[in-house]
Amino acid sequence: MNILFEIVIQQGFILDLFGVIGLGLVGLGALRLSRRMDSRSAACMTWGALSMLSGRIGILLYVHLTTAAQRAEWDVWMLSLARNVPVGLLTLGLGAIAYGFWSHEKEVGEWAELR
């Protein structure tokens, strides 16, 4: 199989890298927002981005660094832990990012009304 196809599309290394960089940028931007505007909602976004980043990296490690033969030797609780914890982190982090984003937008709207 074509090596470029395998790297870019089938394994998705480069695009996954873009996603991880983007999540890091979300976290850094939220950190900057929370320091500039002194708001709690941006801090919530930072925690969400951190949680999503760890979940994403966990999934990538699970997919790329373990083989099917290794996974067959794992116990059931290890397997379910390795599958469910990153997904739970992703879901929680997405919720936290969305809540922080919404709450930040509400704060900005309130400031715009006060002016």
Binding site: I9, L15, D16, G22, G29, R32, A98
Partner: protein, 134 residues
């Protein structure tokens, strides 16, 4: 078409398995809505990138991931386990998922970083110069 070959599983909307896709759909669409409301107040590249990222994420979270969770689309990695699945269609959805999710987060992150002024350097401090020879 995979859409018609794989029978749609009976999925109750309130069951635990279906909670996560529904949550993802709601959150993806609310991200889009909030980004639209926020970008009415700002302009330029930060607004464009936030909006583009939110659109891609809403497509990914609102449509593609629930379709994967409902097994209407089979995962490209497990294509060998589904002999009736169309490989070309599976590959197309795989590529669109990769671009929507990863490109969406990259655009959203860039937009948020630009919006929060992450790339702006701190304003130069005005230092009072004391001349040594008055």
């Amino acid at each position: 078409m995979v859409l018609f070959m794989v029978p749609f599983p009976p999925m109750m909307l309130a069951s635990i398995d279906a909670m996560r896709p529904v949550f993802l759909m709601v959150v993806g669409l609310s991200l889009l809505l909030v980004a639209w409301r926020l970008t009415r107040r700002c302009s330029g590249w930060s607004a464009r990138m936030l909006m583009g990222g939110a659109l891609l994420l809403a497509f990914g979270y609102g449509l593609v991931l629930p379709l994967y969770a409902a097994e209407v689309i089979v995962p490209f990695r497990n294509l060998a386990f589904y002999p009736h699945a169309d490989p070309a269609l599976t590959l197309g959805w795989h590529v669109s998922k990769l671009f929507a999710m990863n490109g969406g987060w990259l655009l959203f992150g860039m937009g948020l970083a630009l919006y929060s002024g992450l790339f702006e350097s701190a304003p130069a401090r005005k230092t009072q110069t004391v001349s040594a020879h008055p």
